[in-house]
């Protein structure tokens, strides 16, 4: 797009000298007008904030929480079968997909021939986990999912190794909402073969 010459301001040497001299005027070098204007700005901000403390962007954390999205990727949990056993079949898909290599599974043979395998051990190292959710995506059995839990500070490093029992049952002790799930809503098995899901 050509530049309209009417919008171009041609600076002559005299203009530059005058503009420079303007910033160097003695009363500007005293800084006083600018100082007074600045003081007005800060006082205005302070009064506005004092009158309306609720307008501050601060989230008063323990009493207020940030409203994270419903697909927030917080601490994992293992889903149960109606019998109370884990739905996990120890296929190692999640452990393979995990970029942080934080899932450790020991597979065992299940007495029910329809199930074949079950995890004897299923440990997640919470300090290595990067909360990417790939394990949830990888799981063919919809057995692992994430919650919106993000407050798991502890004094001991051992507390961050979540074993099978803990992953199955920790939601009994603390009520947290579901976070990242493999599917939204019910699974429509009929669509799976067409590769649209």
């Amino acid at each position: 797009m050509p530049i309209d010459p009417r919008h171009v301001k041609v600076l002559k040497a005299d203009d530059i000298i005058r503009e420079h001299a303007d910033t160097q005027a003695w009363w500007k070098r005293l800084y006083l007008p600018a100082v007074v204007m600045g003081l007005g700005v800060t006082l205005g901000n302070m009064i506005r904030n004092l009158l309306k403390p609720g307008g501050l962007p601060t989230i008063r954390y323990p009493e207020e929480r940030r409203d994270y999205g419903h697909r927030f990727r917080g601490r994992h949990y293992l889903k149960k079968r109606p019998s109370g056993e884990p739905r996990c079949v120890a296929c190692m898909m999640c452990a393979t997909a995990c970029p942080a290599d934080c899932i450790y599974i020991v597979a065992g043979e299940h007495p029910d021939p329809a199930i074949e395998k079950y995890p004897v051990r299923f440990d997640i190292d919470g300090l290595r986990c990067i909360m990417c959710g790939y394990c949830v995506d990888a799981c063919p059995e919809d057995a692992i999912a994430m919650t919106r839990e993000y407050e798991w500070a502890s004094y001991e490093r051992e507390d961050f190794i979540w074993d099978k029992e803990y992953l199955l049952n920790w939601r009994d002790e603390k009520i947290v909402e579901d976070g990242y799930q493999p599917y939204e809503g019910e699974i429509d098995k009929s669509r799976m073969s067409r590769g649209t899901l």
Partner: protein, 355 residues
């Protein structure tokens, strides 16, 4: 020996020192919460005693406990004697300056005249300047003894800055001394009780407006507050001269800075805003109307109100203005403030000569 007089003097010294020292945590609180609200934050509001946070005023208490229990560390290769001496050298002049500030008019109780200042020295303002110039030794020594290049740079900067601005500080007051004809702060405050043209209080700021602005700038520079806090300059020198100090030694530097602030504000009030004078109220009439002690308390209230405003100004300015560059600082001090202060003295002299 006049034991009652000694007792009264000791009581006055104690009360003034107690008051000023306790102003420091309140100032720290005002600084932190004030700055927070200026910057759209909340500031410290969680520390509580039994659920009472007192708007965050419990925080300074927690800070004190922390300072007392922190490790008192002396860095390797530091000059131990000077390292320990420096905070003391900074605090003592800051704590001694209040002695000559008058807080109220003299009162007569039970036939005894009591001056409402710790020491009515006949050298007055000169005593204040003499002590203020001593505080630079504390800063330079702290910078030197720490064996740290940032501390040393901070100390050197502060010496250059304080020497430059002391000149402006002294010269800007000369006009005031000429008008009120005394270096005694009590006389200066009494002189400001009169009125110009029948209605305008004869305060220093009315008779010497230019001197007030110059003095204000010089006081900011002398107390190392922003926009002149080059000795500290967090983003260049860590925190300058007190980088290597921890625990109570650091707290003493902190206290000295805030006490210097209080001194500066008290001087501004005393020299330019009528000290304890209540505008349009004659001190003698007030004492006759409500009695000596209530009158003194009212005047103390007037002084405190003015003082609090200027303390707030210190905080307010800190969170408004950026730091000066070093050459800008020197240019402002030597090329703007000093000639203007000299011109002010000259013009004041001319006016006084021809009237």
């Amino acid at each position: 020996m006049d034991w009652t007089g000694v007792g009264i003097s000791l009581l006055k010294a104690f009360l003034v020192f107690f008051g000023v020292v306790n102003t420091v945590p309140v100032l720290v609180w005002a600084e932190r919460r004030g700055s927070a609200f200026i910057q759209h934050r909340l500031g410290p509001n969680r520390v509580n005693i039994g659920g009472f946070t007192l708007l965050g005023l419990v925080q300074p208490l927690a800070d004190v406990v922390k300072f007392v229990w922190k490790e008192d560390y002396v860095p390797a290769h530091a000059n131990r004697a000077f390292y320990v001496l420096a905070p003391v050298l900074l605090l003592v002049p800051a704590a001694m300056t209040f002695a000559v500030i008058p807080f109220a008019d003299d009162i007569v109780v039970a036939g005894r005249q009591i001056t409402m200042q710790v020491a009515d020295l006949n050298i007055g303002i000169l005593y204040v300047f003499a002590l203020a110039s001593l505080s630079v030794y504390g800063i330079v020594l702290a910078g030197w003894a720490s064996n740290n290049k940032y501390s040393l740079l901070g100390g050197i900067r502060s010496s250059a800055q304080m020497i430059s601005y002391e000149l402006a500080l002294g010269l800007s007051v000369v006009g005031i001394l000429m008008i009120y004809g005394s270096v005694q702060l009590d006389d200066i405050v009494h002189g400001q009780g009169e009125h110009l043209f029948g209605f305008l209080p004869k305060w220093g700021v009315v008779t010497q407006p230019l001197a007030f602005i110059l003095f204000l700038a010089a006081v900011f520079a002398e107390s190392n507050r922003l926009p002149f806090d080059l000795p500290e300059a967090e983003n260049e020198l860590v925190v300058g001269y007190h980088t290597e100090y921890s625990a109570m030694k650091f707290a003493i530097f902190f206290m000295a800075e805030y006490m210097a602030m209080v001194t500066g504000a008290m001087l501004i009030v005393t020299l330019f805003f009528g000290g304890w004078q209540i505008p349009w109220v004659e001190s003698a009439e007030l004492q006759a109307a409500v009695g000596a002690i209530p009158a003194a308390l009212l005047q103390l209230g007037s002084f405190s109100a003015k003082l609090l405003f200027f303390l707030w100004l210190f905080i307010w300015v800190r969170w408004t203005l950026p730091r000066f560059r070093y050459d800008q600082l020197m240019r402002l001090g030597w090329k703007m403030i000093l000639p203007l202060a000299l011109a002010n003295v000259f013009v004041t002299g001319l006016v006084l000569y021809f009237t």
